[in-house]
């Protein structure tokens, strides 16, 4: 039988706020245990939550970015369960009325050996505000667990998709796209090692062509795209084999073990899932007005889709180049800054996606840490455009900029890379070359085109690569006439 995998994602994004969702405690990562756990974070009796304005604005930004329906009034609910890192005995979340409703995100699924690249729209079911739990530390004291509540109450936006993805590749493409988007609009730092962006993946399989959903298992807390791919592939295969062997799938929460590449059931969901949600009487409904949306919209950067369209219409870039350049906000910003500093757009695009990108990858650097600034790259490209240096020489100047040898013109000067465009000087070189290579001249005159290229090569060599190749071509042709 042919099987189809059905995947939906729930992503917890930690919002970039200074203080917690419901209190004025700091959210800085990595502080000493419990030094950022105030009376609200540790749930002392009698404390009350007060909602963070910035967290609400982050939610509105996300809603605007995915063109979502937004509830004029949303409601906070208590999600009840007992665990030592949740001192209140409930998590404040949103249940029936989330702040962000239905929206959509277009993903680009890359080509593989057997398939072409394609785009797909993933429907977002909802996104709601909630608070993070604390952390349990095991093994410090025999028979005990240590609890650190610094993270308790950290603002999260949980983003939930429809079960729209049909392969691990689509799920990863979605996760990457979302990861870029939340950073682009500045609501999440995207740091996966520190847990700022965590994905839970719901996986089920069904006979191909069926429109009924199979029983799903939820893979919890994936914090790398590579693990996500592996976990989904393993889980899909496991479910198919279980069903083909005549077994059934039990709804469960599973964990992925990166060492073995396997998923393992954590707890059966039936009982754990009885969260007995009810509206939190400590919090009033959250109102988001049209005026709020307009105000937040004015604070937002141009969205990737809009910028992509503008790169095509304004700079005449191909849609492939535009899509590549807008794959991340930092790369897009770099490109726009390069063009703003006077570089020709198409050439800037080639350098950003080519030499710069290759060098960054080779040294595992992010573009924000690029040793060559956008202004420097623009200055370099201007020197190519005004014929001061050749493309080849430009590569050497780029290396010099990367190594911190100074500014563009200084490097050209120091390395003696200035292109010779003086007709007289080039003619002198050509005369020398012609005199020294009579055999080649004869071959050319006998009709051998190749000899011409060899002569150009000799001229370039004689000029130590500094002669303007176009001029050499032209003058040489005239001489040999």
């Amino acid at each position: 039988m042919q099987w189809e995998v059905v995947i939906g994602l729930e992503t917890h994004t930690q919002l970039q706020t200074k203080s917690k969702q419901f209190s004025g405690a700091s959210t800085t990562y990595g502080a000493d245990p419990n030094t950022q756990a105030c009376e609200v974070s540790i749930a002392l009796p009698g404390v009350l939550p007060v909602l963070n304005k910035e967290a609400v604005e982050c939610a509105i930004k996300f809603g605007l970015a995915i063109e979502a329906e937004m509830a004029p009034r949303s409601v906070f609910s208590r999600k009840n369960y007992f665990y030592p890192d949740l001192p209140k005995g409930y998590q404040i979340s949103q249940f029936e009325l989330p702040v962000v409703g239905k929206g959509k995100i277009t993903i680009q699924v890359p080509a593989t050996k057997n398939t072409e690249a394609y785009e797909k729209v993933i429907n977002i079911t909802r996104a709601h505000l909630e608070e993070d739990a604390g952390k349990s530390v095991h093994g410090a004291v025999e028979g005990m667990s240590g609890i650190d509540l610094n993270r308790a109450g950290t603002p999260l936006l949980e983003i939930v998709t429809e079960p729209d993805m049909r392969s691990a590749a689509e799920a990863v493409a979605y996760a990457k796209k979302l990861h870029e988007l939340v950073q682009w609009i500045g609501i999440c730092d995207g740091n996966m090692q520190e847990g700022s962006f965590r994905c839970d993946v719901n996986v089920s399989v069904r006979p191909k062509g069926s429109d009924k959903l199979g029983t799903r298992r939820e893979i919890k807390n994936l914090n790398s795209f590579k693990f996500m791919q592996q976990a989904i592939e393993y889980e899909t295969q496991w479910q198919i084999e279980t069903l083909e062997d005549g077994g059934t799938i039990q709804q469960a929460t599973v964990l992925f073990n990166p060492d073995t590449g396997e998923t393992r059931a954590m707890r059966s969901k039936e009982e754990a899932n009885d969260y007995r949600y009810f509206p939190d009487p400590d919090l009033l409904p959250l109102e988001v007005t049209e005026a709020d949306k307009a105000r937040v919209k004015a604070l937002m950067p141009e969205l990737p889709q809009a910028l992509q369209a503008r790169l095509v219409s304004e700079y005449q870039l191909s849609s492939y180049d535009a899509s590549t350049l807008t794959a991340s906000r930092s790369q897009a910003d770099y490109f726009v800054a390069t063009v703003a500093a006077g570089a020709e757009p198409k050439q800037a695009a080639n350098w950003v996606m080519g030499a710069l990108s290759a060098k960054l990858n080779a040294e595992e650097k992010s573009i924000v840490d690029s040793p060559v600034s956008a202004a420097q790259l623009a200055a370099l490209l201007k020197r190519i455009a005004d014929n001061t240096i050749s493309n080849n020489a430009a590569k050497q100047v780029f290396e010099g900029l990367w190594a911190g040898e100074g500014e563009v013109d200084a490097i050209i000067e120091a390395k003696g890379l200035k292109q010779v465009s003086d007709t007289g000087a080039i003619e002198a070189i050509i005369n020398e070359v012609l005199a020294a290579n009579q055999a080649m001249v004869d071959e050319y005159k006998a009709g051998k085109e190749k000899a011409f290229n060899a002569l150009v090569g000799q001229c370039m060599k004689a000029s130590k690569g500094k002669a303007n190749p176009a001029q050499v071509n032209e003058l040489l042709k005239a001489k040999l006439g």
Binding site: T35, I42, L51, A140, M144, L149, L284
Partner: protein, 95 residues
């Protein structure tokens, strides 16, 4: 909706409340009474009425995103049963 003693035990477990066998019957009667009351209310036609999430018709006040809390770990941990290296200690949690 009729409850039985197993439901009572399950609800008590979810809420981490200890209910002895002798208390269970009494709790069952009380909870059933509450459910009966809710059933009566459900007979009212509420078509077109937005569910109320709070008794007052006002909306949430928002707080500026400013860190206003200082570290009071020592004070808070002075009343904790067990702590070590700044951590609150609890009986071992096994996942």
């Amino acid at each position: 909706m009729a409850l039985n003693l197993d439901d009572i035990k399950r609800i008590a477990h979810l809420a981490r409340i200890e209910v002895s066998d002798s208390e269970a019957q009494e709790t069952l009667n009380k909870l059933s009474g509450i459910l009966g009351l809710i059933e009566q209310m459900q007979a009212v036609d509420t078509t077109g009425i937005t569910p109320m999430s709070h008794s007052q018709d006002v909306t949430q006040r928002l707080r500026e995103d400013v860190v206003t809390q200082t570290n009071q770990r020592e004070l808070f941990q002075s009343i904790a049963p067990a702590t070590q290296d700044g951590l609150y200690l609890v009986p071992k949690v096994i996942e």
